[in-house]
């Protein structure tokens, strides 16, 4: 695994965290983020691929530790791909120092077939109400992934960060596959 880029908000908030011009030299991508919204209460964590607003669908399995497991599906035509929830900044009813952790794996990001991804999200909160999400995503375009954008409902809060890694499939010269 190779580190490609890290974006950190050391001062102020931002509308998005954007990884652009992703090198076309790896097999898979891994995006890891610690992220928070500027508004109070639970807000959405959103993902855009190649700035595309179409051909997206996802299914998510989530729970909040209070009730049973819930799910949500969104098919083509939905304006945004939700991969989890994030706690907001002071002013809401959630812990002010908790950031949400998200890991998103993109296999075969350069494939000419539709691109899948797997996202795991855990919202940080120093209370009994919290959320974890397991999301299956699909971007139904043949173009390779060249940019990834993370957004939240409002703005991304200071001290949020995200890192992108590239993974290359190959051979060690010992293991065989048939």
């Amino acid at each position: 695994m190779k580190h490609i880029e890290t974006i950190s908000l050391s001062s102020g908030s931002a509308a998005s965290l954007v990884f652009s011009n992703i090198p076309a030299i790896y097999t898979d991508l891994l995006l890891v983020t610690s992220i928070r919204d500027t508004s109070g209460g639970f807000q959405l964590v959103l993902l855009d691929i190649n700035s595309s607003s179409v051909d997206r669908r996802f299914r998510t399995l989530y729970g909040n530790g209070v009730g049973g497991v819930s799910s949500q599906n969104q098919n083509d035509g939905n304006p945004q791909t939700m991969i989890g929830l994030v706690n907001g900044a002071p002013g809401g009813s959630v812990n002010i120092t908790a950031y949400t952790s998200v890991q998103i794996y993109f296999p075969n990001y350069r494939s000419s077939a539709s691109k899948t991804f797997t996202a795991d999200c855990v919202a940080g909160n120093n209370a009994t109400e919290n959320y974890s999400f397991l999301t299956a995503g699909l971007w139904e375009q043949s173009a390779p992934i060249t940019s990834l954008t993370l957004r939240t409902t409002n703005s991304i809060a200071q001290y949020s960060s995200a890192s992108l890694y590239g993974i290359t499939a190959g051979s060690d010269g010992i293991t065989t596959v048939s």
Binding site: R59, T135, A136, T175, V177
Partner: protein
């Protein structure tokens, strides 16, 4: 920077449909293994078994998806006729003093999001991983990649 994770061991992109893919001669060099499968199959919702060292049994597993949670005596990935991916982590695969734990994340955006946990009830070091389902195929273009993770 030295890479400690996702060290490539072997990969294959299928040039024809196949019902069985086997990674063999896996060195006992790493701590964990990660198997990544991305592609399609000729049957939606079909389980492709993940068998270690050619053992067709001796597994227990728990799964959860959007509609149910259940247990099984096999550990598998769930395929789809549209693009899906499955990520299997085999923890401490080269240890000879413990059973082998496997974790699954399986994503098919038009059918389901899955998580699973399995255990191969053997203390043998894992030296092969077989993905198989008799009578069904992973389709041309499906990529299967095996990676090692250092401790």
């Amino acid at each position: 920077m030295v890479t400690q994770t996702h060290i490539s061991l072997a990969t294959v992109t299928l040039t024809s449909a196949d019902s069985e893919i086997v990674f063999s001669s896996i060195p006992a060099t790493y701590r964990d293994l990660i198997l990544v499968v991305a592609g399609t199959s000729n049957s939606a919702g079909r389980a492709f078994f993940v068998e270690l060292n050619g053992d067709t049994g001796n597994q227990v597993a728990q799964y959860i998806n959007q509609s149910s949670a259940y247990s099984d005596t096999d550990f598998y990935i769930i395929s789809n006729t549209t693009e899906f991916n499955a990520i299997v982590q085999i923890m401490d695969y080269s240890a000879t003093n413990k059973h082998k734990v496997m974790l699954l994340r399986n994503s098919s955006a038009d059918t389901d999001s899955w998580a699973g946990a399995g255990r191969w009830t053997s203390t043998a070091a894992v030296n092969s991983v077989r993905i198989t389902r008799a009578g069904y195929n992973l389709q041309t273009g499906t990529r299967l990649s095996l990676y090692g993770v250092h401790a």
